[in-house]
């Protein structure tokens, strides 16, 4: 099977869905690039990270729409277009920019269907880049998905690898609800086997990436990679870790997590977000409620600390959960 990067997988999903349905459009800042420029307005960027590269050239600027820097108008326009017949994929370049457009997501798109008594469909996708690891500093590195996971009416997707990125994005575009699709900037260059044909991965279905019996390790987005690494390391010591990639934080596949915890009796959740009111806390609370009788040990979280993301790469490395830090917590818990 062909090997593709996370970036390429996303690009392919967009291209295939745009081919399949001409109501699928892309809206954002420099998603094409070059508009009005002295070079003549040819596609010049394909997004700041090149993720949408080639799409404007292929589908034209009516379907790959460069906008001014006005995120509220971008998200609102996409939401309004979704409500009136289109299937827009808006790009919120860095997820941190949620601060300037939250209302259009939180009070508008997420609530239409409910407020309007079930009449609305809002097939909106917001693609956005999350996460630390590139030295981008406090305002360009945040893992904002908990803030969105808590919002009823939204679906929140956190793919950890290229295969999932493609399948989940295709599902997101076909889905009739507003979806926030969180791409981790430090995964863009990661690659794995990705089929050429389109496929959709349903939401709310976690993946078990390592089968195991001693402890359940739940990861989110890039953290899944670290969890897998820890499981592989420990396997050499005969320790059997089950790793769960939740893939979507909303809907959250509690069933798979609970089943695993009931088997292993031990749970560690790894989340790149700040600790308070995190998805890690949510998962821990679900297990503490619904798998209590099966627990042999406290539930542990490995998260970023309650601090902003420092610009210094040295400090950023200390900020992030790492395989080493996870391993320590896991080993500790196994000895409990």
């Amino acid at each position: 099977m062909p090997i593709k990067t996370y970036r390429e997988a996303i690009n392919e999903a967009l291209r295939q869905e745009m081919e399949a349905n001409d109501r699928v459009i892309i809206i954002g800042e420099d998603v094409a690039g070059g508009a009005g420029g002295s070079a003549g307005g040819a596609e010049a960027a394909g997004g700041v990270m090149g993720i949408t590269a080639g799409l404007a050239t292929k589908f034209g600027r009516d379907r790959v729409i460069d906008t001014p820097i006005t995120e509220s108008a971008i998200i609102g326009m996409a939401a309004g277009a979704a409500l009136t017949g289109m299937r827009p994929v808006a790009e919120l370049m860095f997820a941190d920019f949620i601060g300037v457009c939250l209302d259009q997501i939180y009070n508008q798109a997420a609530k239409f269907r409910y407020m309007f008594g079930g009449k609305a469909r809002t097939p909106l996708v917001v693609r956005t880049m999350i996460g630390a690891g590139m030295g981008a500093g406090p305002q360009h590195s945040q893992a904002i998905y908990p803030m969105l996971t808590m919002i009823p009416g939204l679906k929140v997707i956190v793919p950890s690898n290229a295969y999932d990125a493609k399948g989940l994005l295709i599902q997101a575009i076909r889905d009739d609800d507003p979806v926030i699709f969180c791409e981790h900037k430090s995964l863009l260059g990661d690659s794995c086997e990705v089929p050429d044909e389109p496929y959709a991965i349903p939401f709310g279905q976690a993946a078990i990436t390592r089968k195991g019996s001693d402890l359940t390790l739940v990861g989110i987005s890039r953290m899944v990679k670290f969890c897998n690494e820890v499981a592989d390391r420990l396997q050499k010591d005969g320790i059997s870790i089950e790793v769960i990639d939740i893939r979507t934080t909303s809907p959250l596949d509690a069933a798979t997590i609970l089943e695993s915890v009931k088997k292993t009796g031990r749970l560690v959740v790894v989340d790149e977000a700040n600790p308070m009111c995190s998805v890690a806390s949510e998962i821990a609370s679900i297990a503490a409620s619904d798998a209590f009788d099966y627990l042999d040990a406290p539930i542990k979280k490995v998260t970023a600390p309650h601090t902003p993301v420092p610009a210094s790469p040295t400090l950023e490395a200390l900020y992030l959960p790492t395989p080493d830090k996870i391993e320590v917590v896991v080993r500790d818990l196994l000895e409990y």
Binding site: D62, S72, G80, A81, A82, L83, M115, F116, R121, P251
Partner: protein
């Protein structure tokens, strides 16, 4: 501008319906039967009707505000279903989950009242974008108060509309107040000039004059339908009640609303014009008044009698599909 008799009668009926709807709601609210917050549109009817009479149900969209009842009625939303919604009842147009501040009817191209000031203009961009891409010839009209004009989303939306040449009419309703603060204090410069600074053609009209609004809207809608991009209209408006039903209006001079009702009542002005020009006669309008009164009477009675929403509906329609 030539309006047929039917068009004139239709416009009058819509304006009168809004007026009766709102005046009656005011009474009902004070008697305690209506839940939530209520913002009445009385006095501004000619603005909503002046533009919406020229919009189609299926391809044209409006984005509204917290003061949305008038926009709904003007755009053709069923008055009884609206009343039930404002009473938050089961058969309300939003099943009782939206209420006055979030009333909507997508089937009529009404994208929702909006309890977030400045919330709707970005959504209207989207409706205009759909119209442009799907080549429906449709137009999107966000209504925007003088207070909302200061919200960043409005500026962003004007720029976006200008850049993408979207078929839109920004309909500003300057009623002189945002809550309890005057536009003369809070809205610097001029709204018309703001639109023009984005290269958006803009005019200012008297919002109590149906014909002035109609004509400005006609030009703007035509421009939009012909690919000429967005326009803006600043309509001077007259808010007969306070900000919300029950507002003691301590910021207004005694007699101000009385004066507005006397000299700036769009219904009176309309009636005077059409009778003087012998386009309609007063008796026709009086007949409409009677019908409208009955409609509102029935709407209130039916709304009061309508059942509460089913308990299960609390959990419904959060998503189209739950995974």
């Amino acid at each position: 501008m030539q309006l047929s008799r039917d068009q004139l009668l239709s416009a009058y009926r819509r304006m009168r319906t809004i007026r009766e709807f709102e005046e009656r709601l005011h009474v009902e609210f004070l008697s305690g039967t209506v839940p939530g917050f209520l913002h009445l549109y009385s006095g501004q009817e000619a603005i909503a009707v002046g533009i919406c009479e020229q919009l189609d149900d299926d391809r044209d969209y409006i984005g509204s505000t917290h003061r949305g009842h008038g926009h709904c009625i003007a755009k053709g939303v069923d008055v009884k279903a609206m009343m039930k919604e404002i009473y938050c009842k089961k058969n309300g147009v939003c099943g009782g989950k939206g209420g006055s501040m979030h009333i909507a009817d997508l089937d009529k191209g009404m994208l929702g009242a909006n309890a977030i000031v400045g919330g709707a203009p970005p959504l209207a961009l989207g409706a205009a974008l759909s119209a442009k891409l799907l080549k429906t010839g449709g137009v999107a009209v966000p209504f925007i108060g003088d207070g909302a004009a200061n919200q960043g989303t409005v500026a962003e939306s004007m720029n976006m509309a200008a850049v993408l040449k979207l078929p839109m009419v920004f309909m500003f309703e300057n009623n002189g107040y945002a809550e309890f603060t005057a536009a003369s204090y809070a809205t610097a410069g001029s709204i018309e000039a703001r639109a023009k600074a984005y290269n958006i053609p803009a005019v200012t009209v008297d919002g109590a004059d149906f014909f002035a609004v109609y004509e400005a809207a006609r030009e703007a809608i035509e421009r939009a339908r012909n690919g000429g991009g967005p326009s803006a209209i600043e309509a001077k408006a007259y808010r007969f009640w306070g900000h919300f039903a029950g507002d003691p209006q301590r910021y207004r001079a005694a007699g101000e609303t009385k004066e507005l009702r006397e000299n700036h009542d769009c219904l009176k002005i309309f009636a005077d014009k059409v009778t003087q020009a012998a386009l309609l006669d007063q008796a026709e309008m009086n007949a409409i008044d009677v019908e409208v009164m009955q409609l509102i009477e029935d709407a209130v009675a039916e709304a009061k009698a309508d059942p509460q929403p089913d308990p299960e509906s609390l959990y419904k329609d959060v998503y189209v599909s739950y995974n």
